[in-house]
Structures are given as C-alpha cells and as structure tokens.
C-alpha cells in the first residue's frame, strides 16, 4: 500500500501543476458521443490518462465502458468528440492506427489465433527478424517474471494463460497506453494476484493503464485514479484515495436514487407464501454456478441481481435445458424438470427470455408473427401438420396489441425494429406458450427509457395474471422497482437474499460486488 500511496502523491502533484500535466498526459478523450441507431451509448465522455497512472474504470453493464474502449482502439468510430495522444489530436480510424500510437487493448474475450502457437500469437504483425523478436520476447517475459511454453497451441491455453498471451502481445508493442478489459473476471485467486503484481510493475515503468473491472477491491488495490461510468456519462472521477467503497457504490447508482428505500414501485402486492412454490430449485449445480437453492411462489417477481459472469445466465440456461446440470434438482409445480430437453421444459410450463437478444432470441430477417409464434411450433396449438395461419395471426396480433409494439404489420422484419420493440416480441414469444414461470434475462438491456417503462408495465400486467417471474438483471434500479424478493449471485453462488423492504440499490450493488458482508461488518465495528 505504501508504494501505491507514493504513486498517488505523484499523481496528485501532476494534477496540481499545469506545466507537468501537459507532457505527462498520455491519452485524453474529450466529449465522446456514440449511438447505435436510436440508442445513445456514450453521451459526452471525457477522460485523461497520465504516465504511470492506473485508471480504474467501473460501471454497470451497458454503461458504455466497452464501447468507449473500442472507440479508443479504432474498432468503432465516435460520432463526436476527439482523442488526443501526448497533446496531439489524432484520428484513430482502425486498430492499426491505434497500434501505431502505442495503444494496446487486452480485450475481455481474448482474441487469439487458436491454431497458432503462443509464440506466433505474440510476434505476429512485427517487422523485426525472428531471432530479434525471440530475444525481445524473452526479455519481456523475464522482466515480468512469467514463464509460458511458447510452443503450445493457443487453443490449449486456459483462459488465464490466454489473458497472459494478450498482455505479452501488448507489452511487445512497447505500449504507452495499455487497456485491460476485465482481465480478472475468469481468473483464479492466484492468477489474479500475479496479474495485479504485473500491472503494478508496468505502472512503475511509466505505462498508462486503463483497468476496467467489476471488482471494487481491485480498484483500491491497484488503481491510482478511478472513473465511474453510468448510462454513457462519467459520474465520478478522481484519485482513488479520495474515495471509500460507499462512495463508489453510490457513484454506480443513478443520481436520483434514494438510498434508504425503494421508490417508484408498483402497488404493493400480497404474495401468499403459504402456497406451494411454483418453482423449487435445490442444491442446483452446473457449469459456472454451484449449489443454488431458491423458491418462487405463484404470482411473484423474484429479482436476481449480480454482475456479468456471476453465473446467473448459466444457471437459467441450464434450468432451460440448454446445458448439462451437474447436480441438485429443479421442480416445476412439483414435477422434476432437471435435465429435461428445452422442448419439454417449455411444454411443462417454463420459458426463458434470453440475455443475448441478437444471438439467441431474434430471427432478424423474419417477420413479427413468425418470431412471436416460434416457441409454439412444438405444441399442437399451431396446427398438427399444417400451420394454423389464423391462430398465428391471432396470437401475434394479441401480443402486439397487449404490449403496444410498434410495427407496420405482422410481416415486418424484426431486424428493422427498435430494441424495445424487438424485446417485446421476444417477451411475447416466451409468454405465448402459457408458462407458469418465465425467466427474463436482462430484459431491458440496450433499450431506451420509454421502452423500458413499457416492458415494466407488461411484466406487471403479466404477473397479475398469475405468472411467476424470475428477473435476472444487472440494472439494480430495475430489480428494486419490480421485485417482491431479490436474490444476489456472486461468483457462481447466491450470496444474499433480500426481502421486499430490504431491496434497495445500495444493498444489491454491495452484494453484487461481493462487499455486502464486509459492509455489514464495518457497521457493527
């Protein structure tokens, strides 16, 4: 901590003297705007990065962190705003240009060439001779104390090793700015420690580092400065030592969020907890999650909060029959649905709205009706052999009306709809099979505020018909607004359950970042 302290002092001095700041500012982005279609992702981002700084960048899902980094790397181009490097305005139109300016990004998902050796992966794209590269690579590896078998094929590497290769790739380019996008999300404890040590080493060499993370502990461990992104703007920015954990949690929350109690909730509903639960999950284990137990009662909305990678989606898809269950049981209305095929799970009364609307949800080049009724094809409602066109029209029209989906006709291709309307169609599809339980995975990600309100109204209306909902969301506000009860997952396990009056954003956020217990302790001390 001492070393970090002196770093912070240095940073502070840099900040106070203008004459020092100019030569030391490596990278500066000003007023960056970026929208995808009607969806504004970045709304005027300004950030500075100096020599030897570790800028910890935190923010919820969809806050725009990855988009900002992709703009800096030249993968996307900004709609507005400018990037300056060492005081000079630059135009980064492709990754090659970013590399030429000594910027390197270690992406969240490593982008290695799986069929090449580690050596080839690292040295590809350099102009120097092979022996020269080899000796340089050796010296870089010696310097940070890593040993990797350079002749192994990249496809045999663990995710941590892949991350190491990516970092070596970056170091070989003598970067002035190194971007690490959630490098520890898939690492074990030891690997995290060695990575953090490496980051500190790089920092001492004067490299500017942007460190994106979901783990607040890491911010304090290695960050010198911190910036919080929320909804496309920087809400909080400053030196790390100026903040406490609570400050950061607060910065992650919407500005108008009241910390003491939830607001804007739907009318209180009485859930009859003496009934048998409609969904009973016991000791459920699978890939990416472990030992999950919870109940859902009829007509209840249960929020499931957590950060990306906490295992929520994996748990949901495993219940839905998309992956192998490794233990435990899932009972739907008393019937065992553990390990059933997706078709059977749907027909037994559970449906799922996927997190990844584009890859798993939509048939983009097909019409509204075809999308809405796609989950009904296995039931006889759509006809035995021939398609029942009348029923198809009736069902899809009913959801279009009920959800107030804006379409020009039932045959309009859904790829051309706005995100909110697309999501309504996917939700309609899940409810078309008359389920008893629906799991919604990030139902409002990437859709605008108005559509979000529509989706909430739809969910409350559906709940009133007696359907139970498990709402997976990284948007804590959403969990607060909709849930009767809330669960929080962290690193593959349910770490906390909150009753209705405890569901407030700061509790959820703290638990999702794995610091809820610590906080409670702090209070008692």
């Amino acid at each position: 901590m001492e070393a970090a302290g002196s770093q912070q002092d240095a940073a502070k001095q840099d900040g106070s003297g203008i004459s020092y700041q100019v030569p030391n500012t490596l990278l500066s982005v000003q007023n960056i705007y970026k929208s995808f279609g009607s969806n504004a992702v970045l709304k005027g981002i300004s950030l500075d990065l100096c020599k030897g700084q570790v800028l910890a960048l935190i923010g919820g899902n969809g806050a725009g962190k990855s988009t900002l980094m992709k703009i800096i790397m030249g993968i996307y181009s900004a709609d507005r705003g400018e990037i300056t490097i060492a005081g000079e305005k630059v135009d980064i139109s492709n990754p090659k240009a970013a590399l030429a300016h000594s910027i390197y990004m270690v992406p969240q998902e490593p982008m290695l060439f799986p069929n090449m050796t580690v050596r080839e992966n690292i040295v590809i794209g350099f102009d120097e001779g092979a022996s020269e590269l080899e000796s340089r690579l050796r010296s870089v590896m010696d310097e940070i104390g890593w040993s990797l078998d350079l002749d192994r094929k990249a496809s045999t590497l663990s995710i941590a090793e892949q991350g190491m290769v990516e970092i070596l790739r970056g170091l070989m380019r003598n970067p002035k700015v190194l971007i690490l996008d959630e490098p520890t999300s898939a690492l074990t404890f030891d690997e995290v420690q060695s990575l953090l040590a490496c980051v500190q080493e790089l920092q001492n060499k004067g490299i500017g580092i942007i460190y994106i993370t979901h783990r607040l502990a890491e911010v304090f461990e290695i960050g010198t400065t911190v910036a919080i992104l929320r909804d496309g703007i920087v809400t909080t920015q400053g030196n790390v030592f100026e903040f406490t954990r609570d400050d950061l949690v607060r910065g992650l929350l919407p500005a108008d969020a009241s910390l003491s109690s939830g607001k804007a909730r739907g009318a209180a509903r009485k859930i009859d907890y003496s009934q048998d639960p409609v969904l009973k999950v016991q000791g459920f284990c699978g890939y990416g999650f472990s030992d999950i137990s919870f109940d859902i009662y009829p007509g209840e909305i249960v929020g499931l909060a957590g950060v990306v990678g906490a295992g929520r989606t994996e748990m949901a898809t495993t219940i839905f029959g998309m992956d192998k269950a490794l233990g435990g049981s899932v009972l739907l209305n008393g019937q065992d649905i553990t390990g059933r095929k997706t078709r059977q799970v749907i027909s037994m009364g559970l449906n799922y709205v996927p997190e990844d609307r584009f890859n798993d949800g939509l048939y983009r080049i097909r019409g509204v009706a075809e999308n809405t009724t796609s989950a009904l094809l296995s039931s006889s409602r759509m006809g035995r052999l021939f398609l029942n066109a009348k029923e198809e029209e009736r069902v899809s029209q009913s959801y279009v009306d009920r959800f107030r989906t804006k379409v020009t006709g039932l045959d309009q291709e859904v790829g051309g709809l706005s995100g909110g309307n697309q999501q309504k169609i996917v939700i309609g599809r899940a409810f078309s099979t008359s389920p008893k339980v629906v799991i919604l995975d990030e139902p409002t990600r990437g859709i605008d505020a108005a559509a979000r309100g529509d989706v909430y109204a739809v969910l409350q209306e559906l709940r009133d018909t007696g359907v139970s909902i498990l709402l997976i969301s990284s948007d804590m506000e959403e969990v607060v607004e909709l849930s009767d009860r809330a669960l929080v997952m962290y690193q593959g396990r349910i770490v906390q359950e909150f009753e209705r009056d405890q569901i407030v954003q700061e509790n959820l956020t703290a638990a999702a970042f794995g610091v809820y217990q610590a906080e409670a302790k702090a209070v008692t001390e």
Partner: protein, 347 residues
C-alpha cells in the same frame, strides 16, 4: 438505384416479379427471333431435358434455407439409376421393386450425410463433397455387379417404366412435367404451409435461437438432406426412364445447375430465406435460356455455361453488394458489441 437495392435484398414477391419479367423477356426476345420457340410441343421437349435437375433444386432449396449446401445430390442421381438397372436386370427384381430399393438407398445416404452435418457439426460442404465421392463410387461398384459393361448402360426397360418419361397427358403435356408439378406442390406446401417448413426457415435464420424456441434444429437440418436425397432419387428415376438407360454417372455435372436455380430463385446462401416458387421460376428461366439461345441465336449448347454462370455471379454479387450497405452493417456493429459482453460458446 435504391429501388434495385430493395428488390435485391428484401421481398421475395418482388424478386419473383423480376424472375417473371425475365421469363417474359425470354419469350419476347426468343419468340421474336425465332417463332418456333413458341411452339408448345418444342417448349415441352426443351423443359423435359432439364426437369430432373429442377426437381432436385426444389428440395435443395430446403437445404440451403437451413444455411447448408448439398453437392452430393448429383452422385445420388447416378446411384439411383444404376441401382434400378442392376436390381431389375441382374437380380430379377420387378421394375417397381427396383425403383423402391433405389429410393430407399438414397434416403439412407441422405440421412447418413445429414446426420454427420447436423449431429457431428461437420461443414455441409465437406460432408457432401465426401458424399459425392462415396456415393458415385458406390454407384460405380454397383455397376460392376451387372453383366453389362458399365459404359454401355443398362437398357431395355419395360414400357410401364418408360411410361414415366414418354407418356403425354392430353397428347401434349409430358408426364414428367406432372411429376414436377406434384413435387413442386409438395415442396411448396412443406416449406411455406407446414410447421415443419417454418422450423426449417427459423433454423436457417438462427439455429441457436431455434433451440431457445424449443425447436430440434439438428433433426430439422438432418431431415432436409433426407428430402434432397429423396428428390435426387426421383430425378434419377425420371432421367433413367427418359434416357431409357441406367448408368452410374448419370448425374455428373448437374451441381452447378442445381445451385444456380436455387440461388437465382432468391434463396439466401446464408440461409433463412428461400422460396419454392422462386426456385421454380428460376429453373424455367434457365431452361428457356438454354433452349432459346441455341434455337434462336445458334449459340452452341456447350457454351451455355457462360450465360448461366454469369447469371449466378451477377445475382450473388448484386445481392451481397446491396446488403453490405444500409442497416445491416449497423446491426453487425451492435452484434459485435453484444459479443463482447459474455461467453456465448454453444456446447
């Protein structure tokens, strides 16, 4: 310009109109150049040569709608033909039993390739390439079981078999055209009117989303190869009856015509969109082109690959050029940002 783009990228209905326009143009141009072109009897003969190919194209459309490709069908035509010949002539099967045997064998072949594609996750191109070697090889081996030398072909089929190709309904309409119409109706109803066809389409758009909708996308994919193999065997039967001889290499060189008919008919090579009507219209456009050019402009029949090839290249380039601008790249960009959010490797 944007209108053309629209026609190329969206709306099967407008694409079908273009194809009908092409057909009308052919009739006008060829008819004006040589009025013989418009004689029904001649027209029917001209179609007859190509009909078996286009029967296959109808069902290869289903395969391509799932996003796959089938280049083994041509070899199955030969396998059907030689199986009928050998089973009938050398093993004493009745002609209809021989036909049934040939169809059954083709279905097994299609199921085998389809299984490897759908359940083992091997690329359709590679499997059907291997299949084209294997099944044409088997056809050759079957031909060695016969007492007749394979290059001669087995002939002398009974009249009731030759009836398939020689009979003319109402004195003018060839019987095999009726078979084509029947197959067209089956394929059309199957793809556009049944739940099965809907599953084929949805699987082709997004196989993963189909799994999330509870559709058994693997079974659907496999079944399309069974159907295309069955169509190939029917084409083999008709072609054998038409030519009057059974040979093992009967279907050689048909692949390009089949793929051209399907792609020209508006089926996306990436899957998810396709039209049986489009394939049929494209088939006839190609057939009349191949008939009209030699008849009216003295173009040698061997040169006919040029216009057909140009047609294929022009359509595929035009379509991808049209779809590479507009909101598709935007969607792709969104897509890319999605991919970054979490693991999505499907087991």
């Amino acid at each position: 310009m944007s209108r053309i783009k629209q026609l190329l990228t969206r709306g099967q209905a407008s694409w079908n109109l273009i194809l009908i326009g092409l057909l009308v143009l052919e009739f006008v141009v060829f008819g004006a150049a040589n009025p013989k072109f418009l004689r029904p009897a001649l027209l029917f003969t001209s179609i007859n040569d190509n009909l078996p190919v286009f029967m296959i194209a109808l069902f290869v459309t289903l395969v391509m709608v799932t996003g796959g490709i089938d280049i083994q069908v041509a070899s199955l035509v030969g396998l059907t033909s030689i199986t009928i010949g050998v089973a009938w002539q050398d093993f004493g099967f009745s002609i209809w039993a021989a036909v049934a045997l040939a169809v059954a064998i083709c279905i097994v072949c299609g199921a085998f390739s389809g299984f490897l594609i759908a359940y083992c996750g091997v690329q359709a191109m590679v499997v059907t390439l291997g299949g084209s070697f294997l099944y044409s090889g088997i056809a050759l081996l079957v031909s060695t079981l016969s007492s007749t030398e394979s290059y001669q072909g087995i002939g002398g089929f009974p009249d009731e078999f030759k009836f398939i190709a020689s009979h003319q309904v109402l004195g003018a309409v060839p019987f095999q055209l009726l078979i084509y119409v029947a197959l067209f109706a089956i394929a059309f109803v199957l793809l556009h009117k049944t739940k099965y066809g809907r599953k084929v389409i949805l699987t082709g758009v997004n196989a993963q989303a189909a799994e999330y909708s509870g559709i058994n996308s693997r079974l659907v994919i496999m079944s399309t190869y069974v159907l295309s193999a069955a169509a190939a065997s029917i084409a083999g039967i008709v072609l054998t009856a038409y030519l009057g001889t059974a040979k093992s290499d009967l279907g050689g060189g048909l692949t390009m015509d089949i793929i051209t008919a399907v792609v020209l008919g508006g089926t996306l090579s990436t899957g998810g969109k396709g039209s049986i009507i489009g394939t049929a219209l494209a088939s006839f456009a190609i057939a009349f082109l191949k008939f009209g050019l030699p008849l009216c402009f003295k173009v040698g029949t061997q040169y006919l690959n040029i216009p057909v090839g140009i047609l294929l290249v022009a359509v595929i380039v035009g379509r991808s050029a049209a779809s590479n601008t507009g909101f598709v790249p935007m969607l792709r960009a969104l897509f890319a940002s999605k991919v970054g959010h979490g693991p999505n490797v499907k087991a």
